[in-house]
């Protein structure tokens, strides 16, 4: 009897908490849908440049399944490669062609090489197989998938944990009544928000430092750029995670409801931040990317860690991240109005 009473009570609690109930059904559907979209995406169509290809060879090549651009000189092709307009280009010099790859995404490298082999098949019918000479703008043939995914995952985990911990600790502040006590003191609302940013900021510098060091020195993640930039990017990213976590915590009534934000807010970012090639994800969801902070952080991290770029290539990303933080800070100050009007 007591067990039955307990079961009924628990069921009743579920029915009262419509949100938890909905989440338990919607969240798995959401995650499964995303995985489906990501892995059943289209094959990647590489963007390839052809430099100085003799007329008689050009007509024989199999140019299907790729976006082809023709170039007169090596220089122009390389410029487009740097701007990511090309994934790779093929140069013909004295009959022996060679391939030059952008190289930072091993998946794309593979797609280009596969295409090149297919394209050259018609030529090889009446000639001995020619050995292709391959060069890389970034990375090398040794580069593994992890080196490319690494920076994104690094950003994601920093984001994830700061988001969750900041959210829960601010939520505690609310549920234990200490927030009310803070607001019954002369403390200003913005001071509370800034105080949180300060406290967590210091902690996250440490956290980011440790995680980045571990990834680079222990896991030997590819690291072409400056350590300081990586720290700066992770710090700005954790600031957005912190402010977003605090903001969303005002919509949660307990820790469990805070955790419910993970599949809604944290996990989707990983799909749209460049971990998977956005061009292969269905168009009706890929637009989400630019709305997620991780998208910018991942881009900047990859620029620094894989491509070895510096300030002038990442400052825009950093600016956007700062913008996200500023937006969430302002929202937080307004959200606190719920507890004290002035």
């Amino acid at each position: 009897m007591r067990i039955a009473a307990l079961v009924i009570r628990i069921l009743r609690q579920f029915i009262r908490d419509k949100r938890t109930m909905a989440l338990m059904i919607v969240a798995p559907i959401l995650v499964l849908t995303m995985l489906n979209l990501v892995f059943n995406g289209d094959d990647y169509e590489p963007k390839i440049g052809l430099v100085n290809v003799p007329e008689q060879i050009h007509s024989k090549l199999n140019l299907e399944n790729a976006t082809i651009s023709d170039y007169q000189t090596n220089k122009h092709a390389k410029e487009d490669l740097v701007d990511k307009k090309l994934d790779g280009y093929v140069v013909f010099e004295q009959q022996s062609p060679y391939v030059f790859l952008e190289g930072s995404d091993p998946g794309v490298n593979g797609a280009v090489m596969k295409w090149v082999q297919a394209a050259f098949k018609p030529l090889q019918k009446n000639a001995p197989p020619t050995e292709l000479d391959v060069n890389y703008l970034h990375g090398s043939s040794d580069m593994g998938q992890f080196d490319y995914f690494g920076p994104v995952l690094l950003g994601f985990f920093v984001f994830f944990f700061v988001f969750l911990i900041a959210g829960v600790s601010f939520l505690r502040e609310r549920t234990t009544g200490t927030l009310e006590r803070l607001l019954s003191s002369p403390l200003r609302r913005w001071e509370i928000v800034i105080g949180y940013i300060g406290g967590f900021g210091i902690f996250t510098i440490l956290q980011a430092g440790i995680i980045v060091s571990f990834a680079i020195y222990v896991l030997h993640m590819l690291m072409e750029g400056a350590f300081g930039y990586v720290l700066l990017i992770t710090l700005l990213l954790s600031l957005t995670a912190l402010t977003l976590g605090i903001f969303l915590s005002s919509f949660a009534n307990n820790e469990l409801q805070m955790i419910q934000f993970i599949p809604i807010v944290a996990i989707p970012q990983i799909f749209f931040s460049g971990l998977f090639n956005l061009e292969t994800i269905s168009e009706w969801v890929s637009w989400i990317g630019p709305f997620t902070p991780l998208y910018y952080a991942a881009d900047a991290l990859r620029d620094v860690m894989v491509r070895g770029y510096g300030w002038k290539d990442i400052y825009l990303d950093l600016l956007v991240l700062t913008g996200f933080s500023a937006l969430f800070i302002i929202l937080n100050i307004f959200a606190l109005k719920k507890y004290r009007k002035i």
Binding site: T176, G177, T178, E180, R181, L182, L183, S184, S185, P186, L187, R188, Y339, R340, K341, I342
Partner: protein, 243 residues
């Protein structure tokens, strides 16, 4: 008590959450240096009224004035010590760390902080437990630490929401003695309670039921007017007359 300076003045204060009326046209004046008890069952609206006084909540009708200033006002908040119904302590910190944190919020200097922390911990008889983690405190000790925090910045007005819940009779007596000590220093104290015998200890009482202030007066006055021998009986008479 008469002809005293008015410290708190609530003018026709009402509060409704949607259709539910929590406070209904409350007009009340509290004088300097008195211990004023707000007596009523839980859910009567005591906490709602008290939160409006501290500026955490706004009335939907009427106005609250403290020190002749309309609430909410951040400059007035500095002169009030508030203790909420929940203990509102950081359990993972020690008592001293909690006290230091709140003292800093009120801008006490390091030296002032040390002195005040010693003084308030003596008042609530927790001096021996200053360095203990709050998570190791008993319920009564937490309550007393909360009170100590409310006293830290030497407020002129103390607003205490159910200050003696879960405190044993001996300690409760000693806490009330400290209230009388504070009163001697000219501090005004507002205490909410649902315990009838505790109400006897206040200088004046306001009885609240269903959001209405049903009677105001000294405990003796309230008993005399209703020919009751206890506050509980008086409350029943006022409550019954109203319904």
């Amino acid at each position: 008590m008469e002809k005293q300076e008015i410290i708190i003045s609530s003018q026709h204060v009402s509060k409704s959450f949607g259709k539910q009326l929590v406070l209904n046209d409350i007009t009340l004046e509290i004088f300097s240096g008195e211990i004023f008890g707000l007596l009523g069952p839980s859910g009567a609206g005591k906490t709602t009224l008290v939160k409006q006084l501290i500026g955490l909540d706004l009335p939907t009708g009427g106005e609250n004035y403290i020190f002749q200033t309309r609430m909410p006002s951040l400059s007035i908040v500095e002169r009030i010590g508030y203790m909420a119904q929940s203990d509102a302590l950081y359990e993972e910190l020690s008592a001293k760390e909690n006290l230091e944190f709140f003292a800093s919020l009120y801008g006490l200097t390091r030296k002032q902080r040390q002195n005040r922390i010693r003084e308030v911990m003596e008042i609530v008889e927790l001096s021996d437990h200053l360095h203990k983690l709050v998570s190791n405190y008993s319920g009564g000790m937490k309550r007393r630490l909360s009170l100590a925090i409310a006293l830290l910045h030497e407020p002129e007005l103390l607003i205490l929401d159910e200050p003696t819940v879960g405190i044993d009779p001996v300690l409760r007596k000693s806490i009330w003695e400290s209230f009388y000590e504070l009163k001697k220093k000219g501090i005004t104290i507002i205490v909410t309670t649902h315990v009838m015998d505790e109400a006897e200890k206040c200088d004046r009482l306001g009885m609240i039921r269903d959001g209405q202030l049903i009677a105001v007066g000294t405990p003796a006055e309230l008993k005399n007017k209703t020919n009751s021998s206890t506050i509980e009986e008086a409350f029943l008479v006022y409550g019954g007359a109203e319904s």
